[in-house]
Amino acid sequence: MTDLLRVRDLSTRFFTEEGQINAVEGVSFTVEAGSVLGVVGESGSGKSVTGLSLIDLVESPGEITSGEIWYNNADLAERVESDRPEAVDGDFVDLRRLSEAERRSLRGSAFSMIFQDPMSSFNPSITVGEQIAEAAEVQRRASANPRSTRSRTQGYGLGRMLLDGVLPDRSYTSEESWDRAVELLERVGIPDPAERAEEYPHQFSGGMLQRAMIAQALAGDPDLLVADEPTTALDVTIQAQILDLLADLQETMEMSVVLITHNLGVIARVADRVSVMYAGEVVERGTLDDVFDDPVHPYTKGLLGSVPDIDRPGERLEPIAGNVPDLVDANMPDRCYFADRCPKAMTDCLTRPPEYEVSGNHRARCVLAEREYSEADAVSDARLSGPTDGGAGAASDGSSAPDGEVSDD
């Protein structure tokens, strides 16, 4: 299988008043063409920011500070080669080294994104059809006039606003785009699409609106769809419908999908490969089987052990002690970020672990990939109570408060 996207050492930081937040820390992974990569992690693990970074939607105070995102597109490579030879490697183009205009022209047509909460992602005062048609119209104008990126935003200015006051019927979208919107709505399984296109977001249910958002994301026929918690706000019966739809679209449209979620069941249902994120890092990655059946990193194991199994209820869950660190740069210790919660922390863990190769494409950022755990090397809690610990009460039972907010004496 060919690779669609190769992400190397990507870091995204937020520069806030509380200090520098390392939301994404040296993340590497590969998205194969026509497959689904699942990114799983708890809240605050950096998975959403990773998704946003992929399609360059990180906003101030956030910034992608380093890394390369190689995108496989021969046409683009040819077009860019003369201007920026350093950004091209064979058929691959490094998105980070493209100009802003070129990057923008890829959004929607090459990469697209759907978000968690469909209710707040749509404009409540414009019909659903119009909003999808708008996305289709942007792509239509761009393909009609590929040189100009200006045409994409034309019509959104003071002039347009004033004109709308006088001629409220003058629409940005063309009839062609409207038809395309109806077609897209039908494609994502909305009954009576022509009728529903004329309705406003509040007339749609949550599941229907999520379908509409997927339709909008498909308007530019993208190579890659980044889906950020697409089913989290939905009920299980609706979630099952949406997952089916995503799998079906991915197959028929030969799209790649990066599916970001905290739900391991959702990952197991649709993902081919999995990246597990913790504290801004990918701590383990590999095929679904590698990660679920043969996990190496104690965090992956802990995550899998924390989920109650609906088919095999056990007596007691085995949670991971403690809480997710807050990623403020000043508080991040210079050791394995998981060591203070890890049941198998050893003296080796006092240095930052590199990414070890377990087998094939199965990687883990844990020394246990190389050696067995031994009691003799176990490290005491005291040595781990670096700046990540809130102070009092030790970190054994979730009792340490989030850092940076509490100072204990």
């Binding site: 708890e42 809240s43 009954p191 009576d192 022509a194 009728e195 249910s205 949550g206 599941g207 229907m208 009920d235 299980v236 019966t237 609706i238 979630q239 099952a240 419908q241 997952l243 089916d244 905290h262 739900n263 391991l264 069941g265 959702v266 197991a268 249902r269 649709v270 679904l288 089987d289 679920f292 059946d293 802990g302 995550l303 899998l304 052990g305 924390s306 989920v307 109650p308 199994d309 609906i310 088919d311 209820p313 056990g314 007691r316 869950l317 949670p319 991971i320 002690a321 809480n323 997710v324 009092a392 009460g393 039972d397 979730g398 009792s399 408060a401 989030p402 907010e405 509490v406 204990d408």
Partner: protein, 443 residues
């Protein structure tokens, strides 16, 4: 163990829309939103009764009404033999001491301007238990018991993480030493690793203090993990209730089956598991379907006597009928799509809609009925179109309302055992239905 501590009987909670003074003066009819619509069950002493259902099914309203945080529209709740809605004065205070509640959202359920200690001692202060010093001591003990440390007592909620806040909310519920705690989605806002910590805490405390829980959640694996018995709610009604093992191993109601099947398993075999997703959305509680409330999505909808088409076909016909009845199909727009401004080519209209609405093949007689309905629709006569389909495809599920029979594991579905009066109603309906000659193809 088997004595019911809480008995809920026919509980109803309706919210009314269009019910302001102005609406009354103008004579507008108030519209009822049936959040809880006739729910009966028992919670036995020392057990955990799980309540599951999708959003909008009335779980949280049930909890609030049961605790008398909202006044019911009808029905009754007895707590240890006392009718909760008739209590007043000291008796009501006593009930409030014995029953507590813990809420879902760790961010909005704690007052940001009170310290952890103040939050936990508030119930004690309200019920005038102990001196200030004693209360503080109690709060410190409780903090330790829920896995926090006593020196965190003077911290404010924003200094704690989500999981820690839920522990504080739980400590507050425990403060007054209740017997019964309603847990309203206590872990759904938490990450899985933290969720497991809190679930273990809840289980430990129950064992230690003989607590009785009513555990409300939408996450089925969590409910299975913690509950002794489970009630499944759909659109304000309990559709199935029984011991956890039985509900999960042999679910009886089609909704329970669909719900269980929909949960994605965190397992590598998950991809190959065939999931029959149920179609559509939960209907609005403003206008619930007649008869069985699940019939609009049910994969096992019962066909009228005399009709025997494949289930998938029957489902499609029923869905098509619903679209016509609800006026979802815009006839003008459809004519436009057919491209016939003069509306002469009825056959083209019929073909276009017929193709769009049905993936399954239709038997000849049904093909004819469906086309007849579409022809009526093409003429703009929605009533006739709906009536044509209704006559032939009316299901007993929409005429007869199922109920929960007595027993250990009852469910409200006409496919299964039903109380005598429901069975009688169904027989009567079917006899009538047969007599009118419906079920034979209409011409």
């Amino acid at each position: 163990m088997t004595d019911p501590l809480v008995r809920v009987d026919g509980l109803e909670k309706y919210y009314y829309e269009n019910d302001t003074l102005l609406d009354r003066l103008t004579g507008a009819e108030p519209e009822a939103v049936r959040a809880v619509d006739g729910v009966s069950f028992e919670v036995r002493e020392g057990e955990t009764l799980g309540v599951v259902g999708e959003s909008g099914c009335g779980k949280s309203t049930l909890a609030e009404t049961l605790m008398r945080l909202r006044e019911p529209t009808g029905g009754s709740v007895t707590f240890d033999g006392d009718p909760v809605y008739d209590l007043s004065g000291d008796d009501l205070d006593a009930f409030r001491r014995r029953a507590q509640v813990m809420f879902q959202d760790p961010f909005s359920s704690l007052d940001p301007r009170m310290t952890a200690g103040e939050i936990i001692t508030e119930p004690l202060a309200i019920h005038d238990v102990g001196t200030v010093a004693e209360r503080r001591e109690r709060a410190e003990t409780l903090l330790e018991e829920v896995g926090l440390s006593a020196d965190q007592i003077d911290r404010y909620p924003h200094e704690f993480s989500g999981g820690q806040r839920q522990r504080i909310g739980f400590a507050r519920a425990l403060a007054i030493d209740p017997e019964f705690i309603v847990l309203d989605e206590p872990v759904s806002a938490l990450d899985v690793s933290v969720q497991a910590q809190v679930l273990n805490l809840l289980a430990d405390m129950q064992a230690e203090r003989d607590l009785t829980y009513l555990f409300i959640a939408h996450d089925l694996s969590v409910v299975r993990h913690i509950s002794d018995r489970v009630a499944v709610m759909y659109l304000g009604e309990v559709v199935e209730i029984g011991p956890t093992e039985e509900i999960f191993e042999s679910p009886q109601h089609p909704y329970t089956k669909a719900l269980l099947e929909s949960v994605p398993r965190a397992d590598t075999d998950e991809r190959d598991r065939v999931v029959e997703t149920i179609r559509g959305d939960v209907p609005s509680p403003r206008n619930p379907p007649s008869g069985c409330s699940f019939r609009t999505r049910c994969p096992e909808l019962i066909q009228p006597p005399g009709l025997d088409v494949p289930q998938a076909t029957f489902r499609e016909i029923s869905d098509f009928r619903t679209r016509i009845e609800n006026g979802d199909i815009d006839v003008d727009l459809r004519w436009e799509q057919v491209g016939d401004a003069n509306r002469e080519d009825r056959a083209a209209f019929v073909d276009s809609l017929r193709e769009e609405a049905f993936d399954e093949p239709l038997p000849d007689a049904d093909e004819e009925t469906v086309r007849e309905a579409i022809r009526a629709l093409a003429d703009g006569d929605r009533e006739t179109a709906a009536a044509t389909l209704r006559e032939r495809y009316r299901s007993p599920c929409e005429a007869v309302e199922p109920a929960l029979p007595a027993g250990d594991h009852p469910d409200a579905c006409l496919l299964n055992e039903q109380p005598d009066d429901v069975e009688a109603a169904r027989e009567e309906w079917e006899a009538e239905h047969d007599a009118s000659g419906v079920g034979t193809p209409s011409q």
